[in-house]
Amino acid sequence: MAMAEGHKSGAGRYMTVYILILAIAALQFVIAYSNITGPQMFARMLILAVVEAALALLFFMHLSDNHGLLWFVVIFTVFVLLAMQYGWTDSFRELLGAPWAKVGS
């Protein structure tokens, strides 16, 4: 049944993606020792992690073979992450125990 879905597989492609993911992971470890600020380090590592995850989703989990499912996963994930960013900013208000009007005053 899986073959009927048009699944393309091959050790060569898997090895290429695997080596690419390993290289990106190694780059994260190099960045961890670089002399940059915390926010810069966070941004670079997060971008690399997203690239790693995208490669795994597309080629290891075969989402590149099913565009409908790919969009379903991407749209849902982006929605959840954006919703959490709303919660993120609001959590500072909860931490300070003050309503929005009093924060920063």
């Binding site: 091959g10 898997y14 695997y18 960045i31 590592m45 795994a56 992450l81 959490m84």
Partner: protein
């Protein structure tokens, strides 16, 4: 005999499977989406705590252990793909062997993880306190890595169970692929745990 014939003409009124994939595979994708929201929630909460806490500790002085763990888990994803390739080529013995190699890699990862935990506990890091800074660090670290370790453990059990049933003829290549999806997801989560929980807390 066509599918419509076997359905006695009812196939026309039945809905097509969502995204043209088997229902059990769709169920696994829905689980992965829901579980990714759980991990995203944990990591966002962790980031918030880390950002808002001035005395956040940086207890990791070596990346060797986490680098080895990462290499093992990434490699286990590759061996899982080899298992799937073998299964689709009809090589049952090969698929079973690669599945067991994947499970063994997962077990090795879990052993290294537990060894790391024991080392941190030995240094005085518990859920509520540690010698380096805020006690929140232990709670956040053990919660996130513990949740991931739980997923790894469940994955190892699932790989062995599905592998044995596949070899026995009760399960097919699709079942192996669905278990593989879960295993790749566990690997994918680790790609975010390593930089956020380990590398950003590296003591310089």
């Amino acid at each position: 005999m066509s599918h419509a014939d076997t359905m006695g003409g009812h196939a026309q009124v039945m809905e097509k499977p969502a995204f043209a994939i088997p229902a059990k595979k769709m169920a696994m994708w829905l689980f992965i989406i829901a579980d990714s929201a759980t991990f995203a929630g944990c990591l966002v909460a962790y980031g918030f705590l880390r950002n808002a806490t001035p005395d956040w500790p940086r207890p990791f002085h070596s990346i060797v252990n986490v680098a080895i763990m990462t290499f093992i888990l990434l490699t286990s994803s590759l061996t899982m793909l080899f298992a799937l390739d073998a299964a689709k080529a009809g090589d049952k013995a090969g698929a079973f062997r690669w599945t067991l190699i994947t499970a063994a890699a997962g077990a090795l990862f879990a052993i290294l993880h537990i060894r790391e935990w024991l080392g941190l506990i030995g240094e005085g890091m518990t859920l509520l306190k540690n010698p380096w800074g805020t006690g929140l660090f232990g709670a956040a670290f053990y919660s996130i890595t513990g949740l991931h370790l739980l997923h790894v453990t469940c994955g190892i059990i699932a790989l062995v169970a599905v592998g044995i049933r596949y070899k026995g003829g009760r399960y097919n290549a699709d079942d192996l692929e669905i278990t593989g999806l879960y295993w790749h997801f566990v690997d994918l989560v680790w790609m975010f745990v390593v930089p956020l929980v380990y590398l950003l807390n590296l003591g310089h």
